[in-house]
């Protein structure tokens, strides 16, 4: 395994892979530093550029964006008190107070180095567990796959929103989108309403781009207008710090670093519960285990280390699920899945054995991106901070144009751009209707596979009880049921306490 990893690192060190990786990391940091621009948005913007690249070049660029974005978000959180993105909210709780106490350099670099170490620990998990999990998934038949996808969908629906019904309904709407078009067995047209371009089905990338890009852009547009100005100018803070001292501050808390990184990885493995949940949960855990919980929120280093280690290790966890099972861990990996399918590559249990160069190239790109991130932070952190002053009136038209290019270039058809527009309206409408977007997207991604495996299972043996009596399949369906019951219990408990859980999805 480690020989393959070493070969992967040597491979990615070649200029043709290293340059996209470095550029992706830089773009990720910049996107992360911009308040309101999430990693999903940044990776969507980068997507069309990857169409003309080799698969590993494109994936390296996207991984760079992912890693860079998770780290870039902490810049504005620590120094300006504005979270660059949802997954750096908890970083702000202690990062900004530390800055206000006159230690901006310490706050920033604690976050950057914690991101680095947390990310590398996530990498150890990624490299160590993907292959065994993929081998386990090779034992799966259509019954197990069907049950696994149902489990993923039920978990997302249960964990992402204030209401289980809304989460499940959103997932079901995602599945409805996938039944439009020719059926996968006989190719008979279904629900196409006589529209020719619907016969081939609705590709998921324009749906994903439309739903997320517009839901987010329109959310920001709502807050724009006369008299609602953007961030004011700022005075550049002094960021000089002793790196050895900062690194020691992190490494002298090994248990907390390991535990919060593990939380990040675990949350990354669960579909759709991404960096923001990892960031907040790790912060909460660090506070619970701390000898001085009262210091949290006043600028304590533990708060910064825990939250940043978790959101970067989370990336490793998200990559495990897509590489071992073909299930995206969050929206960023969903876009990566789309990029892979455009190149004719299907992630899943066979991915690592059939495409070892690509798989280990992904591992290598993930690990190297952390070193590149550190290098860019050393060079340009002061410049990244200035990016928050770029007006959204300039950014949004550019983002929308890149979304259009991304949708059109999938197969050079305007139909995808029409889907983008319709899904933009759908996404914004769903957000306004209080429906979470994560289950919708997972439904769109998994819908075809759910149907194919259901049909395959029934055509192999028409005994429906096999879904329950085969141990892994039955176990997964039981887990799906437990996740729904757990979500119900959690929601009822929150209602009794008078607090309704917020939508915590990163999709």
């Amino acid at each position: 395994m480690y020989e393959l990893l070493l070969a992967g690192i040597q491979n990615v060190m070649q200029m043709k892979y290293f340059v996209p990786l470095a550029l992706g990391t830089l773009i990720g940091i910049v996107g992360g530093a911009l308040p309101g621009i999430t990693n999903t948005m940044t990776v969507i913007m980068v997507l069309p550029f990857t169409f003309g690249m080799e698969p590993l070049q494109g994936l390296a660029a996207m991984i760079g964006v992912y890693v860079g974005g998770e780290s870039g978000g902490l810049i504005a959180s620590c120094l300006l008190g504005i979270p660059g993105k949802p997954s750096s909210v908890a970083t702000m709780f202690d990062g900004f107070p530390m800055t206000k106490k006159g230690e901006p350099g310490r706050a920033l670099w604690l976050g950057i180095w914690a991101s680095f170490f947390g990310g590398l620990l996530g990498g150890v998990f990624l490299v160590g567990t993907t292959e065994p999990l993929a081998k386990l998934a090779l034992e799966f038949g259509p019954w197990e796959y069907f049950s696994l996808f149902i489990f993923a969908l039920s978990m997302v629906a249960g964990l992402t929103g204030a209401s289980l019904t809304k989460g499940l309904l959103s997932g079901a709407i995602g599945l409805v989108i996938t039944i439009i078009g020719n059926d996968p067995v006989m190719g008979s047209p279904r629900l196409t309403l006589g529209i020719r371009f619907l016969e081939g089905g609705i590709p998921f990338l324009p749906v994903l781009i439309g739903v997320f890009a517009f839901a987010q852009i329109m959310g920001d547009v709502e807050k724009m207008g006369p008299g609602r100005s953007g961030p004011a100018g700022f005075v550049a803070p002094k960021l000089v710090v002793s790196h050895a001292k900062v690194i020691w501050e992190i490494l002298s808390r090994p248990v907390m670093l390991l535990w919060t990184s593990f939380i990040g990885v675990l949350i990354g493995v669960l579909p759709a519960i991404g960096g923001s949940a990892a960031n907040v949960m790790a912060y909460d855990q660090a506070k619970k285990f701390s000898k001085h919980p009262e210091r949290f929120g006043t600028g304590t280093p533990e708060g910064i280390i825990a939250s940043e280690a978790a959101n970067n290790s989370n990336v490793g966890g998200s990559l495990v699920t897509i590489m071992a099972f073909g299930i995206p861990g969050d929206a960023v990996t969903a876009v990566m899945l789309g990029a892979l399918t455009i190149h004719g590559i299907q992630p899943g249990p066979l991915f690592i054995s059939q495409q070892p160069t690509l798989a280990y190239g992904i591992f290598a790109a993930y690990l190297l991106a952390h070193f590149i991130m550190i290098a860019f932070m050393f060079i340009g952190v002061r410049w990244f901070l200035r990016i928050v002053t770029v007006p959204k009136a300039i950014l949004f038209p550019v983002i929308i144009v890149l979304c259009v290019v991304g949708a059109f270039a999938l197969d050079n058809t305007m139909a995808n751009v029409y889907v983008l527009l319709l899904c933009g309206l759908l996404g914004y409408g769903m957000v306004k209707g209080g429906l979470p977007l994560a289950p919708l997207i997972l439904g769109v991604i998994l819908g075809d596979q759910i149907e194919i495996n259901l049909v395959r299972a029934i055509m192999t043996d028409d005994n429906p009880w096999l879904f329950l009596t085969r141990p892994i399949s039955g176990g997964l369906l039981a887990a799906a049921l437990i996740s729904v019951v757990f979500a119900l219990w959690q929601h009822q408990r929150a209602q009794k306490k008078g607090a309704v859980p917020e939508d915590g999805a990163d999709f």
């Binding site: 069309p48 550029f49 169409f51 003309g52 690249m53 209401s163 019904t165 809304k166 309904l169 079901a172 709407i173 599945l175 409805v176 039944i179 059926d183 067995v185 006989m186 008979s188 279904r190 629900l191 852009i217 329109m218 547009v221 709502e222 807050k223 724009m224 207008g225 609602r228 007006p391 959204k392 009136a393 300039i394 949004f396 038209p397 550019v398 929308i400 144009v401 890149l402 259009v404 290019v405 270039a409 050079n412 305007m414 751009v417 029409y418 983008l420 527009l421 933009g424 309206l425 914004y428 306004k432 209707g433 209080g434 429906l435 819908g447 149907e451 049909v455 029934i458 055509m459 028409d462």
Partner: protein, 155 residues
Amino acid sequence: MKLSKDGWTGLAALAASLILFALTLDLKPSPLVPIGPGFYPRIVLGITAVLAAALVLFDLLAPPAPAATASGANYALVLAVFVTFGLYVGALPYLGFRISTLLFVAALQGVLDPPKTRRAWIVAAVTALVTTAVCYIVFERYLQVLLPRGRWTEF
């Protein structure tokens, strides 16, 4: 009884799923495979309808929520952005990528933050020009990704 936002969302989803469910009844079963093309869509649409109905029901049974305070959201601007984008999408097949993108980027900047000074006009114009030129050069020339051609302009 008055429906809230959830109730209306549920009703819309219920109506759509029932219409689509009715359309699946026209799908003919296949003689070659034990389950026809309508089998899975009916399950999915049935579940969707049940969930949508549940959302409406829960909304009706829920105690009345306190009157929502005005959110201050600028919906007129949201509508203007969607309309501008719709016009852009409509113009792309006729004017092609270069002209429609140039117009769209300039127009959307004007919609989001109308330029008031000479400098702001120049920034808007340069942004539109640079975005269009960079996209064209990077995608068409460097990455060999085709961009929409216009029927009227033939480029």
